[in-house]
């Protein structure tokens, strides 16, 4: 078949989702493949809808080479409005940030995305009228404040019949039942109870409908300060020690009020540090961890390292890569967070104390630390459904303000902070240090981080359960029939077909040996607890016993109560933490037991898959972790086919246990960017920095070049 390039513009129509409306479009827009001065690219149409910005090139209709890993909702050339980070216009070679009203229209548009893609569009050949419409349309819809109800979420939910049952393994924690199951699973039900006090949100709109508190806490005290000053249960350790969180009182000017609050708190502490409760340790996260502002600043600097305009920029900054990376402080923040989580784990595991995390709203760093501690200590949280349940429990229902923290509505930049991304970055460190301990892969985490910006799922688009519930009913839209039915991000079939979903599962996951069938109970969500933690058997040395006694004594003397406090790192017994860390690392890893991250400087790494996936200069042809993974997947496939053969031999019914394994066999040498950035690769050329290659030039036609870089792709073997 002969392909003839049609000069006449083909009518390419954007693929619209239910409820998606085309707002404006511009034709003959030129999209650069990669802004490297070569000006290669494709012509096409740039459209903006109420869901996404999309570039439709002339070939987009024919999908000859379907990538193996494809998102069904957000295509390669789609940018959801929430995914736009910043938009720059280029005027006479000068870059200018585009925010609100525009007086002049740029000749080039650079869109930086929150998933770290960079798009370069040239508008020089577009009609002026269209340029005006598309640029102001894109800027307006992606960069200006928005009403919650204008989120695409609502148009989609009302237009798309949501037939998905939603009954997957993930616990949503929307019902009392779920909380009770979780209490039972962690054996926390002796001392803690799920309460219905907040039904109708009469305690607080910030708290979930149901939550868990110590049994001795009365309804009155919960109601007294809208739930502030009340320890809320997160998780119970196998030895009974629990992880709790509490939101504090705002700073009071009035002396008598603050006196009353102090008395209230003292009362609470007294109640919950009496037996049967364990010793209580308080940890004020606002003083022991970086502030949200610090985190935001660090991440803003960090992501800049990866939002690369072009090759020239890349190689220019590459010279200073290591010092630039260091100066962002992002990895250091990850390290501090991990260290804090280890501290908490030590208190729970070794010292058998309850830990109470304190933060003003208890919905930011509290979520990070409590989630991390659970990932480290509870092997259930390292399965896919367990991790998803954890995110539901601590973040979605727990009341993390996704809407504000992601600044989805462009309301206030002051509220923006990548708290959830920080958690994913920390979990990634664990995943790459102990791959067999996790049922999911780093690709899963990357895809999850991308889903933060896809407004068809309700998961990351509300600040609290209350906000979601009130907006769900659709009361303001009387014409709508019934409440909205939102999708949850955990239904991965919405974004990925089964073949692509296979990339989210870790083929090397060291699955827990299933208990004997005779012993297995049939109860729903009966999660087996893992009790074999490496340290529980370890006999404490005399030295550590001495330390413990001493510190306990000290605490009792100072506070006169059974309450300990993390004060400053200087005051806490540094040896016990170090000893805990050292002793754990000196033993072989039990992938189903306690997992402690290594936090020495060189062990904290850049999450290469997420941050480097669109940067061709950083790719390895046939290299990277995927090179090993491909081999393993081949092996898995072989094992499975043998298994099938064996089953046939024994004429046994093949149970549905066989996971689908992604087939990579046919692809010869994969790039390290796999499974992302597939199509871009074809035009990629490795460029080598000038410094090394300058002298290559010769009177012979060594390289014909018009830029500073040597193009090796054209005539590469």
């Amino acid at each position: 078949e002969i392909h003839i390039k049609e000069p006449i513009e083909k009518e390419v129509n954007p693929r619209l989702l239910p409820g998606e409306l085309l707002l404006c479009e511009a034709s003959t827009v030129y999209k650069y493949m990669q802004e490297d001065g070569s000006n290669r690219g494709t012509y096409g149409k740039l459209v903006c809808t109420n869901f996404k910005i999309s570039f439709l090139d002339d070939d987009s209709a024919s999908d000859d080479n379907e990538p193996q890993f494809k998102n069904k909702i957000v295509g390669e050339n789609d940018i959801t409005l929430q995914c736009v980070d910043q938009i720059y216009g280029v005027y006479d070679e000068k870059k200018k940030l585009l925010t609100g009203q525009l007086r002049k229209y740029p000749e080039k548009l650079i869109i930086y995305c929150k998933d770290l893609r960079v798009f370069n569009f040239c508008l020089r050949y577009t009609k002026e009228e269209e340029v005006k419409r598309i640029v102001s349309g894109i800027v307006h819809h992606s960069q200006t404040p928005k009403l919650l109800k204008r989120l695409f979420l609502f148009s989609y939910a009302s237009a798309a019949p949501n037939n998905t049952d939603g009954r997957n393994q993930t616990m949503m924690f929307e019902t009392l039942e779920d909380w009770r199951d979780e209490l039972e699973r962690t054996k926390g039900n002796v001392r803690y109870k799920a309460v219905t006090t907040n039904e109708g949100y009469r305690v607080s709109e910030k708290l979930p409908l149901y939550f868990v508190v110590p049994i001795c806490i009365s309804e009155e005290s919960i109601l007294k300060y809208e739930g502030r000053g009340i320890p809320i249960w997160c998780w119970s350790c196998h030895n009974g020690a629990a992880l709790l969180k509490m939101s504090t009182f705002p700073k009071e000017q009035d002396d008598s009020t603050s006196q009353m609050q102090k008395a209230f708190l003292d009362g609470i502490y007294k109640t919950i540090s009496k037996p049967p409760y364990e010793l209580l340790k308080l940890d004020d996260l606002s003083s022991s961890l970086p502030s949200l502002q610090d985190i935001q600043t660090a991440y803003t600097r960090f992501k800049q390292l990866f939002l690369i305009d072009n090759s020239t920029d890349f190689w220019a900054t590459d010279v200073k890569w290591f010092s630039l990376l260091e100066s962002t402080n992002w990895l250091e923040i990850i390290r501090r967070v991990l260290k804090k989580a280890i501290e908490v784990a030590e208190c729970l595991e070794i010292q058998h104390t309850n830990v109470l995390l304190i933060e003003e709203s208890a919905t930011d760093l509290c979520c990070v630390i409590s989630s991390l501690v659970q990932v480290m200590m509870d092997s259930y949280s390292r399965t896919k459904s367990g991790f998803q349940s954890l995110i539901q429990k601590e973040w979605v229902i727990g009341g993390h303000g996704f809407l504000d923290r992601c600044n989805h509505l462009h309301k206030s930049e002051k509220e923006e902070a990548p708290v959830f991304l920080l958690l994913l970055n920390c979990v990634w460190q664990l995943v790459q240090q102990y791959p067999p301990a996790f049922e999911f892969t780093e690709t899963y985490l990357t895809v999850l981080s991308d889903s933060l910006y896809v407004p068809i799922f309700s998961t990351f688009f509300f600040n609290s359960q209350h906000q979601r519930d009130t907006n769900k009913s659709g009361e303001s839209l009387k014409t709508q029939s019934g409440p909205f039915r939102f999708l949850t991000v955990w239904d991965w079939t919405v974004q990925f077909d089964p073949k692509a979903q296979a990339f989210l599962n870790n083929p090397l996951y060291a699955e827990k040996p299933k208990p004997d069938k005779s012993q297995r109970k049939t109860a729903r969500f009966k999660h087996q607890r893992q009790l074999s933690l490496p340290l529980t058997q370890a006999k404490p040395s005399t030295k550590r016993g001495f330390f413990r006694e001493e510190t306990d004594h000290l605490i009792k003397n100072i506070l006169g109560k059974r309450i300990g406090k993390f004060i400053n790192s200087a005051d806490e017994p540094p040896n016990s933490l170090r000893e805990f860390y050292d002793s754990w690392h000196s033993k072989p890893v039990d992938y189903h037991g306690l997992l402690l991250p290594r936090i020495d400087g060189p062990e904290i790494k850049v999450w290469a898959q997420r941050y480097l996936r669109w940067i061709p200069e950083a790719q390895l042809h046939g290299g990277g972790t995927i090179a090993t993974a491909a081999k393993i997947l081949d092996l898995m496939e072989e094992v499975q086919s043998l298994q099938v053969k064996m089953d046939e031999e024994h004429s046994q019914a093949v149970c549905g246990d066989v996971h689908s394994v992604p087939t990579l066999r046919n692809s010869a040498r994969l790039s390290s960017l796999f499974p992302f950035a597939l199509l871009q690769r074809q035009s990629i050329k490795p460029a080598l920095p000038t410094s090394t290659w300058k002298d290559l030039e010769d009177e012979d036609d060594l390289v014909k070049r018009d830029d500073e870089f040597v193009d090796l792709s054209g005539d590469m073997l």
Partner: protein, 486 residues
């Protein structure tokens, strides 16, 4: 290396330093990044502590001196000799492992030349008695058209008499050569050196695969004994799948470093006498570069990080001939003159599985490749990469890419001061001695056109990423000493 501390005040110990206090603790910082701490309890051991500390410091110094003055002397006490017979058998059992080459015999050089399929080159034995160039190996790969008689006259023109010679032949037709820089006293126009340009033919790593007429690439540094070793072997690691197999890698090190005369004792700082300026971890730099490649392309190597670590640590071990000498001559010489009693002893335990004919005059220290000496079978199994290429890489089939396709006397590029320079050689003006090439320009054009747009490098070639995010710290090597990293 051996500081002692007294009441938290550490002092570095050397042989000549006098201890003015009784050490409380002895801390030994090892080259393999271990830190050993010995604590001397006070109950009566104090005088011994003093003596032990001093003895260690002096022994270390003495060992180094000995090693230099009479490399081989302490071979008598070398614990590696006279190994039990079973060990030998074990080695022999490893049939799956194709033989590596030591490049001590003519046969090795012939065999490797054959594997490379480098037509137009031959093995010359002109340096068999090391009288042409003391630091060069016995055998050299030189152009077939060049007679030994003519070759002999070129030696004088190069520093340390290290003439240009072939390192590697790319199946695409390019050649990798190495040589020392021109001797300042020689006359560039002299007839003696005229052979060089015409037959030189090599390309650099990137250039190798570009489908242009082959560029002849000759790394050049004044001495040809340090960075040339590094560069020549790295280029081969990138371009030759065989070099990435375990035996291939060992052969590579043997040829480009050991036989080529890298002054290991000086560079590794095994000799005390040397000024510290002679010390430079060139070989360790090579191991680190190899690790970067291994880390970037885990599925392309037949060996593992464990192997590199073993090699790293073995480079400081006194038991192996591999790193004890500066060149082949010294290696052979020391055993002949200093250890006459051992000269005709049957070569100890280590016999290469391939049944290599080993010169009876070579040193009786085992080479480092006798892994059975220091590593158990289980440990050695960990040297094999499970996800590496399924079988030891096939030798590059000569003619897969016809050398004649691009033929032609391409450029001669020389690496100078970190950059590739065209025709820096003073004798470049001379026309090519090669026969007219068969490949027509249109043919090569067509080839280039066909390759345009493909982005994957050809099979076998690795293109490492040199961008900042892709260069990592080899933490399993450097951080081994930290208690937490174990």
């Amino acid at each position: 290396l051996t500081p002692a501390s007294s009441f938290s005040k550490p002092k570095v110990l050397t042989a000549t330093s006098t201890l003015k206090f009784i050490p409380e603790e002895l801390a030994v910082f090892c080259r393999d990044f271990r830190l050993l701490r010995f604590y001397f309890p006070e109950n009566g051991l104090a005088p011994q502590a003093f003596r032990v500390a001093n003895a260690i410091a002096q022994a270390r110094e003495a060992a180094a001196w000995l090693g230099d003055a009479a490399e081989g002397h302490d071979g008598c006490s070398c614990p590696g000799e006279a190994p039990p017979e079973e060990e030998e058998e074990e080695e022999d059992e490893e049939e799956g492992l194709p033989a590596m080459l030591l490049f001590e015999s003519l046969w090795d050089w012939e065999k490797e030349l054959q594997r490379l399929g480098a037509e137009g080159w031959r093995v010359s034995a002109v340096n068999e008695r090391f009288d042409m160039a003391p630091s060069l190996p016995k055998y050299l790969w030189v152009p077939s058209g060049l007679l030994d008689h003519d070759l002999k006259r070129t030696f004088a023109h190069f520093q340390e008499r290290r003439v240009p010679r072939l390192c590697w032949h790319h199946p695409g037709g390019g050649h990798l050569l190495r040589a020392a820089s021109f001797h300042p006293a020689s006359e560039p126009g002299s007839e003696d050196v005229r052979w060089v340009p015409g037959d030189l033919g090599v390309e650099a790593e990137g250039g190798l695969e570009r489908g242009r007429p082959p560029h002849h690439f000759a790394p050049s540094e004044p001495s040809d004994r340090d960075l040339n070793c590094l560069l020549a072997s790295l280029v081969q690691l990138l371009g030759d799948p065989h070099a990435r197999s375990l035996p291939g890698f060992q052969s590579l090190v043997q040829r480009e470093w050991v036989a080529a005369g890298h002054p290991f004792p000086h560079r590794l700082g095994l000799l005390r006498r040397d000024t510290p300026r002679e010390e430079a971890p060139v070989f360790l730099l090579f191991l680190d570069c190899t690790w970067q490649l291994l880390w970037q392309f885990p599925a392309d190597f037949g060996f593992t990080e464990a192997f590199l670590l073993a090699l790293h640590d073995s480079s400081f071990s006194p038991y192996f001939s591999t790193f004890r000498f500066s060149c082949q001559r010294q290696r052979g010489h020391s055993s002949v003159s200093q250890l006459p009693s051992q000269t005709y002893r049957p070569v100890g335990g280590w016999q290469h599985p391939g049944g290599l004919r080993r010169d009876p005059h070579t040193c009786t220290f085992p080479p480092v490749w006798a892994w059975g000496r220091r590593y158990t079978r289980q440990q050695q199994e960990q040297f094999q990469n499970p996800v590496g290429p399924p079988a030891p890489a096939e030798p590059l089939a000569p003619g897969t890419v016809s050398p004649s396709l691009w033929g032609g006397a391409g450029l001669v590029l020389t690496l100078a001061k970190g950059s590739l320079c065209p025709h820096p050689l003073p004798w470049w003006s001379r026309p090519s001695l090669r026969p007219p090439h068969r490949g027509s320009p249109s043919e090569s054009q067509g080839m280039q056109g066909g390759l345009l747009g493909t982005c994957n490098p050809p099979p076998g070639l690795l293109l490492p990423c040199t961008a900042g995010p892709c260069i990592r710290l080899w933490h399993r090597c450097y951080l081994r000493g930290l208690p937490l990293e174990q």
